[in-house]
Point group: C2
Chain length 592, copies 2
């Protein structure tokens, strides 16, 4: 096969393509994701490119019509209709590119490990053998015969769609089978195998973050984040499950709000990539147990009373149509398995993202969301617990709190008599997000605006952050209680294992803080143990990173389910010791 050089502008990217390669595919492969909205059928006109040099042949009448309709200048072609047959210089207009990934705030980013792409969701484009009078084999059986495996479990929907996909019966035509494990989910007319999308979702109490992922390449096409609309029923989990239990209307509202948020995020992802929702055949949701129960309208009654067991921990994958999802209704929704009660699928997903079990050593993993979940890995043994931290670290529930969006103070340092602020987006400060909050409190402690017991000593009993931005005594108490809860959890897990902080090889901090948390300040306030700086690692939103891994790998799914079953759970609320430890933990002092 002869190779042809392609020079891609802007950016002067050089690529090679085999003779006959579809130009749109070649550009995609070269890291220039061209919009393929109409699945390379030359219909939508979204993949316009200019052939600045080289011979790309002539458009056929159908393409010419599309080009004319779009008012395309000379030497412009639909990339999806060009077969590369010689060296080319191609200029891609901005409008033809799929917007680049990770345009969302930095918090979506985080630790990402590379995994082999082996998703349960697959598409097979096949051309079944035609039937004959002597062997009038049914359409479905002829489809099976054309697939790489023989036995499938078809859904009722797939059978109905098969009739629609190829009328009057599969004969000469190509169809695409959408399978999930052994299940046949859907049958689409034509070859749609180039369009296999999945949605990875971190269903957080405060925010919902998601990535739209190409299941064939494993590439994240775009990421988005949004405030969880469930907030109107209460900022923290306890107030939401209490509301859901008290009133069926609240339970229904919480269920609807969860999907409203997820669907809004999905809709933005699809808008940005010019891709259709029908191509999203699998969604992985990672969230804590209560959030998942609420999203499915499942009873949270047992979570509000001792011994606080949940209705279910490992859920079956559901049809999207059975949930409130706006993705393809015959697609699947998989839930990262909960470990126990308040240690949910966000944690099992997080541990999977970090592949915590493969490495040696003793690791303390802390997820600082609205709940504070803590996992101790002591060699081959995993133990976990949870504490109700409240949403202070996520910037909520404070008089001046906000998530880490534009206008949020994400970092602060002492300057002269006051503070130097770093604001997301660079404008005027509007509020404080978690990392900014920690910095402000650390400076307040250092400067004597506040004492170790959390009493504000500054004039007016407020800590001034900006002309119209201040922390009050109630705000400080909120943070103090949240920090003490997490600290107590860490101490009790370590004690139960007979370990000191010095025995730890690593402290991994996941959650809302992102990369802007100042470790020195967090240590100073006692939020994380005073182990060496080199042992502390910020790993970002591991729940989302884990949802991505679970979406892309069937074997990782099995590992995660196994881990969720094995991990030991400790209930903090069960001993008087918790109260003692909690009171000890209330001061803003370093500890180890």
């Amino acid at each position: 096969m002869s190779l042809h050089r392609i020079l891609i502008q802007p950016g002067a990217v050089e690529a090679e393509a085999e003779d006959g390669t579809n130009l749109a595919e070649a550009l995609f492969a070269a890291g220039r994701p061209i919009s393929l909205y109409c699945r390379k059928r030359g219909v939508c006109g979204k993949c316009l490119v200019e052939i600045a040099a080289g011979d790309a042949g002539c458009p056929d009448p159908a393409e010419s019509e599309v080009l004319a309709r779009r008012g395309a200048p000379a030497r412009t072609r639909l990339a999806c209709r060009v077969a590369v047959s010689g060296p080319l210089t191609v200029v891609i207009p901005e409008a033809s590119l799929i917007p680049s990934a990770f345009a969302a705030p930095g918090r979506v980013e985080g630790f990402r490990r590379s995994i082999a792409v082996d998703p349960p969701l697959r598409k097979y484009a096949v051309r079944p053998e035609p039937p004959s009078l002597q062997s009038p084999v049914s359409d479905l059986e002829r489809l099976y015969a054309a697939l790489p495996e023989e036995r499938w479990e078809p859904s009722a929907a797939a059978i109905r769609r098969l009739a629609a996909a190829a009328r009057p019966g599969i004969s000469e035509s190509v169809v695409t089978a959408v399978v999930h494990g052994r299940a046949l989910l859907d049958v689409e007319p034509g070859d749609t195998s180039g369009l296999q999308l999945g949605l990875a979702v971190d269903l957080g109490t405060t925010t919902v973050a998601a990535e739209l992922i190409d299941l064939e390449s494993g590439r994240t096409l775009a990421a988005e984040i949004s405030i969880n609309a469930q907030g109107r029923f209460g900022a923290d989990i306890v107030s939401r499950i209490t509301a859901a239990r008290a009133e069926p209307a609240a339970a229904a509202g919480l269920q609807a709000a969860a999907w409203e948020t997820i669907n809004a995020v999905l809709s933005r992802l699809l808008d940005r990539t010019s891709l259709p929702s029908s191509a999203v055949y699998e969604t992985v949701l990672a969230g804590n147990t209560a959030m998942i129960h609420l999203a499915l309208g499942l009873s949270v009654a047992t979570l509000t009373e001792a011994p606080f067991q949940s209705l279910v921990s490992a859920l079956p994958a559901l049809s999207a149509g059975e949930t409130g999802s706006a993705a393809n209704p015959v697609g699947r929704v998989y839930f990262a398995p909960a470990i126990k009660s308040f240690v949910g699928g966000d944690i099992s997903a997080g541990l999977t993202a970090m592949d915590i079990e493969s490495g040696p050593g003793r690791i303390l993993f802390i997820d600082l969301g609205t709940n504070g979940e803590i996992v101790l890995k002591n060699g081959g043994r995993l133990t976990c617990t949870s504490t109700a931290a409240g949403p202070a670290f996520e910037g909520m529930s404070l008089s001046c709190g906000m998530i880490a969006g534009p206008g949020a103070v994400q970092a602060a340092a002492a300057r002269d008599g006051g503070l130097a602020l770093s604001v997301v987006g660079g404008g005027s400060p509007i509020g404080l997000c978690g990392s900014g909050l920690i910095d402000v409190l650390a400076v307040a402690l250092e400067r004597g605006w506040m004492d170790e017991s959390g009493v504000i000593l500054a004039p007016g009993k407020t800590i001034k952050v900006a002309p119209s931005l201040a922390l009050g005594q109630k705000d400080v108490r909120e943070v103090q209680l949240a920090a003490a809860a997490v600290k107590t959890g860490m101490r009790m897990l370590l004690q139960e294992a007979g370990l000191a902080t010095d025995d730890l090889d690593g402290v991994w901090i996941a959650g809302a803080f992102g990369s802007t948390l100042d470790i020195e300040n967090a240590v100073r306030l006692g939020l994380i143990p005073a182990v060496g700086r080199d042992k502390i690692r910020f790993v970002g939103n591991t729940s989302l990173a884990g949802a991505r891994v679970l979406l892309l790998s069937d074997p990782e799914r099995a590992r995660c389910e196994d881990l969720a079953r094995r991990i030991r759970h400790i209930s903090l609320a069960s001993g008087g010791e918790f109260q003692d430890r909690f009171v000890e933990s209330l001061t803003f002092t370093p500890w180890r």
Copy 2:
């Protein structure tokens, strides 16, 4: 354990029961099925019995109240509240008995083989371990731990129902898990394991017959038959699939009419047995391919054009709620697997009912419904074909035809210059059903009212059956074409196998005729081959008998699916030879 004697009246049935046995259960076991409508909770008062002799103890206050409310005479008890502790004489009032099985017309009866009861649908009543603070295991996992196997696939419905079954969470209470294979279908509060019902249905073109079956004992509790309401869209299959293809409204109407009929039959079965529809967790439907496609709203487009393949042959089991069934919506509907095109699940079920493969020899199996399906078993080799017979043999499509209900002439013989008639129900003749039709034509041939080519020679070109009942030339032609189609099919299957009729060890006739068909007359008209009388066997509605076997036995289901895949199909329409044979077969003459 000591045994106590129970004398049951009326009928002087003697039974024994272990000390402490529930009296209602003892009566049930003795073949006196007492109504257990409220699941033995002493609430409904439907199991009233008189204790004519012996000591049955005293009713507790709750039972006394029910007895008083029902105006029960002295010495009357609720059988479900009596623990047998000594010898008893019990008189059961008619109203307390579940109406005996097979009150439906005789056509529902037929060949029944005994099989080991091993259904995929089971109920387990369990008492899960309570959760603890240190191990807040989810409700679902604790339910699993109490079940005989560990791994289950719960349906979304089962999880929702689990929350309702035991609020606020399973603790001390008994719940009943309803499972199907590895699937957890439902969770019911309390012990409902005594109530495991299934519905076996023969979805015929003309009639729908069904049995309500106790899945624990394998007993048929009641049977019913009804005219298929799809008839308003056409009496035969071809007119129905043509209508469905031409008009979406007709397709929707045919789908609705199928379930309307099935549900009406189910409703009558439940009324007669005082049992709730929610207890019916599995339905098995046996029907021809087109009937099943129409009932599910699946496209029949491919069945109307060469090569006449169907959309699907082996369907997955569906949730009842996905179909139009009025049984428990989370229960399953299983479809007997189609063999190919017009040889459907009614035939695979029939062959399973007859266990055709286990015996030795050469068997010709003929199902004479609206379609004529023919199967030849030649040692270990099965071959099948189908012919469009039309509904004449089922008594439809004739000027004076009717199904074998009250008023139908079911048999006729020559008497003096006219006919002696046997009428279903004994009253005046209203019309002719299939078996009566054959008799009348045989007499007409013998008496010279009609010649072998089917021309009516009698005065007025009619064959008088009763004062207001006669067959015209068009009626005879209809029967003649149907008979010729079936005859041609039999001949071609035998020819293809290189067999003569003398080689056959048995000719099995299934279908609408029931036990009233006169074999001599059928042979005289050439409807069945003139093999020895001892080789011909009427096996009745084998489709329904097969649905029952498939409902009661998971292993038989697997065998049936395997058989349906293996059996060879011959298409009659594919050769010019068919036409020649068909014309030869048009005379009313015996053949072998």
